[in-house]
Symmetry: D2
């Protein structure tokens, strides 16, 4: 089964949340599993969208128990390793979609590019060689589908 | 959703494998998610049993990619952190079942007891206070069910 | 340079503390670096003894900053990964000395034996094949010295 | 004692190596402990410089044993957790100096800025808000000294 990572800010605008939600719906539509950090904002929007379409969502959590997971995480993985859990999200994904995001997201993008994983970017850190930038959630899903198909 | 961890040796006898398989079937029968280290032996037997009953299996892998996962892992989580991934298996589980096992399993039992997680033991490290010992796979499942119900 | 790990309870009796301190003195006397979890009890006793003899002490800490280190840690390594940091203590040591200890210490002993590292045991988990048991701190140091020499 | 992190590429030009070496000398001159990833390139240059001035160098290694450490690492910490060890370097440092570097270094810069640690940058990822950029190794050390003094 394919695994698609969604990385982005833990708090976000409603607009970004809806984009993440649409991406989550798209991931479920591809019959792929969504992997993320399991918290709020972009992560929650994406999990919510995936769950709305019957998809499975994996939340790789930084803290000590699953209570911090957003309500749309199907499978909480509790790491108790803080930001080091970012690497697990990247390693577990076939392809990643970055939606907005701050320094935590940038650390995930960096590791993804270091590991030569494809990264699709929407409203996120700009001008990074290696990211395939898109303008809409639908275009993000087309790029993801292309990556998954060619693998 | 409930998460049940299965810990045990990466290579095992056919007898132990079948016990693990039966436990996996039981976990799926409880509609719980099976969490394990994702490799062979007891982990494979349990994943196989769970998958036979339509259950979801999470394999928290020690290495750098998912190719090491046994064929019955639904959701591979790639950690690249070796034995340190043992702690994630424990933290992610509501209750753990130890089936046979060597020092790696003992490290998982230790962390589980340290974190006051319930541990059911079948043909494993003996005379450890804190483990609820059982004689059969069916008894293991009864003990697990009791723990999940009382939570 | 040789690295000697000291593992044991975070709180302990004065008697155990003094044994750990004597072991710390012995490690510094061997010109080895002491590695431990950096907290109180056995860890503090050992660091204190080592520092009294001019030795270097490394504390591999579970939390988010170095404030939790005991006052005798020369080099605090901040992991923010909780019990998973136990594996780093084991991997970084040429030989380990277990002094008393509970389940956390048992997890460290397990990983050490899994990795075939020599373990010297003093007033700790008994009857474990693979541990070389001793009766006094001085005997512990003799055993450690023998292991370091033969490597 | 103060801990200064040095992050940068594992392979580098001679020019960058010499800058890292000078920075290592400066860190030892401040009586601070140098923390790095323990491998080659910038990490080796910095460790070499520090050791030339009698400083202590900590190498937080990604692999399974200390054989991968550069010859100027005084204290090898063996993590077996790959890129996730980057977070430990950042957490263990009071201030970080980034010298050149690729995506691995960018992941460390990101986590440092996320954790609000001061970062001094020399010939590294440019135009990042939060990095204090300098032109020479000597200016890097002045910036580091200022950060250490004001804390």
């Amino acid at each position: 089964m394919k695994m698609v990572g969604v990385i982005g800010a833990g708090t976000c605008t409603q607009d970004i949340y809806e984009k993440a939600r649409r991406i989550g719906q798209g991931i479920a539509g591809l019959n792929a599993i969504l992997v993320c950090g399991g918290l709020g904002g972009v992560m929650e929007g994406a999990c919510r969208g995936a769950q709305e379409r019957g998809g499975i969502t994996v939340g790789i959590l930084p803290g000590q128990d699953r209570s911090e997971a957003n309500p749309y995480v199907t499978i909480p993985v509790v790491t108790d390793m803080g930001h080091a859990r970012n690497i697990l999200i990247v390693r577990s994904s076939d392809v990643l979609i970055a939606v907005s995001g701050g320094y935590g997201t940038l650390s995930e993008i960096s590791i993804a590019l270091k590991l030569a994983k494809p990264v699709v970017g929407l409203d996120t850190w700009d001008q990074m060689r290696g990211i395939q930038y898109v303008e809409t959630a639908d275009d993000a899903m087309k790029a993801v589908e292309a990556f998954l198909t060619q693998r």
